[in-house]
């Protein structure tokens, strides 16, 4: 399999501090590629660089062979990259199903003229979008709450709602930033199952997660980040045994004992 996402030599500095420095990795379609590291290692910053939220100082990002470095998030969305957020970014004033419907924005007609006129084609498209959104809600177990305002849902539900919204875009590659953070064991198992299922459908997954049990059990490959740099990359078994990884985590708590984080 060829690489779907290729990140090479990417880096950014904030006020002289190199938050992410010379990070290189690649992720394939249908694979679960995890990024772990102590708090402040630069995992979320790396996601922000790849997804166009921040602009990298150097390095390149390729999506399916094409250079996409410096592109805005909405341009990346159109090219098949989607993501979730560590701190929820939910449309709280909209209903659950509308949140997911928005996820289909890149596949919808964008002519404001037709929207103002309320043409039958727009109504048809709305029905189609809603049906697809409902199917996704079904998949993440939220169908019964489709018309509830998102602001009234629990934290664990919102985490799944974000995944459903990201999936609605039908991405080729999906970046998940701590999808199980703050969830109870049942919810975590649910999300675990969901991620594996998504990867099986052929979508490449890049996962940042603190729950080591989850990471080690579902990942194909793992990248370890410390102080913004790549410490090592390998299959879960090798990573868990590597003395450097254990040492890196000793400063911030052992992998797997991670309970609380900012």
């Amino acid at each position: 399999m060829s690489a779907l996402l290729e990140v090479s030599g990417i880096g950014i500095a904030f006020g002289g501090v190199r938050a992410v420095d010379d990070v290189t990795f690649s992720a394939r379609a249908g694979e679960i590629f995890s990024i772990i590291g102590p708090n402040g290692a630069g995992k979320t910053t790396l996601f922000n660089l790849i997804s166009g939220v921040y602009r990298a100082d150097r390095g390149s990002v390729k999506l399916a062979g094409a250079e996409v470095g410096g592109m805005a998030p909405e341009q990346l969305a159109a090219r098949g990259l989607s993501r979730s957020f560590q701190n929820l970014q939910i449309f709280f004033r909209m209903s659950a199903v509308e949140n997911v419907m928005l996820g289909r924005h890149i596949h919808e007609d964008k002519s404001a003229w037709r929207h103002l006129l309320g043409l039958p084609s727009t109504a048809r498209q709305n029905r189609d979008t809603r049906a697809r959104a409902m199917a996704l809600l079904e998949r993440v177990g939220l169908a019964a709450l489709a018309d509830r305002q998102a602001g009234s849902l629990s934290y664990g539900m919102l985490k799944r709602l974000e995944i459903a919204r990201a999936l609605a875009a039908e991405p080729r590659i999906l970046l998940l930033d701590e999808p199980a953070a703050g969830c109870n064991p049942t919810e975590t198992a649910e999300i675990d199952r969901l991620i594996v299922e998504i990867a099986k459908s052929g979508i490449g997954i890049v996962l940042v997660e603190h729950d080591m049990k989850l990471v080690m059990s579902i990942s194909d490959r793992v990248l370890v980040l410390t102080y913004g740099r790549v410490l090592m990359e390998g299959v879960p078994g090798d990573v868990a045994r590597d003395p450097r990884v254990i040492e890196a985590y000793l400063g911030a708590g052992l992998p797997g004992s991670e309970g609380s984080h900012a």
Partner: protein, 291 residues
Amino acid sequence: MLASFLQFSMSGLTVGAIYALVALGFTIIYNASDVVNFAQGEFVMIGGMVSVFALAAGLPLPVAGLVAVIAAMLVGVALHRLAIEPARGASPVVLIIITIGGAFAIRGLAQVLFDKQFHKLPGFSGEAPVNILGASIVPQAFWVIGGAALIVLAVTLFFERTLLGKAVLATAANRFAAKLVGINTGFVTGLSFLLSAAIGALAGILVTPITLTSYDVGTLLALKGFAALVLGGLGSATGAVAGGLILGLCEAFAAGYLTSTYKDAIAFLVMIGVLLVMPNGLFGRAQAERV
């Protein structure tokens, strides 16, 4: 050539000093409570109107000024207690509307208590213009610029040297943390209204011998003060003063060299122009979006 340049500079600094004081009043309240107080211009109006009427009632000018400052401070405290405090936690738009409602009410009250006429105070040091290098400058201009400089100095000393001032700064930096260390943040917010009202009233007293006053002069002053505040970078006292002076100078030079018809438009054109290049104002810091 030099004479007209000097003339325009002085008139720019004079108006600019008033804008700076209005913007400083905005900043003090904004820092303490996140409220953009559109009634700030009404404090200037109160300063002018009350001293005019107190003077007419026979009080000597310094006493009349004192009465005006006290009146403005009372109104400031009342505004805070009756309108801002009960609405704590409301959205910024709601708070803006409340302060505009407050400005309406204060203006309406002034219209009832006083009248709808224009009024003037006598110049503190007479009306005879001083001739400097060919520019003729009314002595009151020196009072305005000097007075504004003194006020800014006093405010700076208050914030840097007194415990109370530091409490206000602490509240501005982090309301929650300030509460934790035992600062009464409600009191601090009230104090900021008191202080801003006094500054506004003093500005009104200083400028009324030059520009006249009436019950409705507050609106345009508040708008320009807001423009100066945002131009300076919202929340920075230095920025507010600099923003005010810059707007005043731009106005005076545009009116002198280009067109006086659009004198009032210059402040807004400059402000919009700067924001388009520097979206956080001249002295504001950009904040990286955290997600």
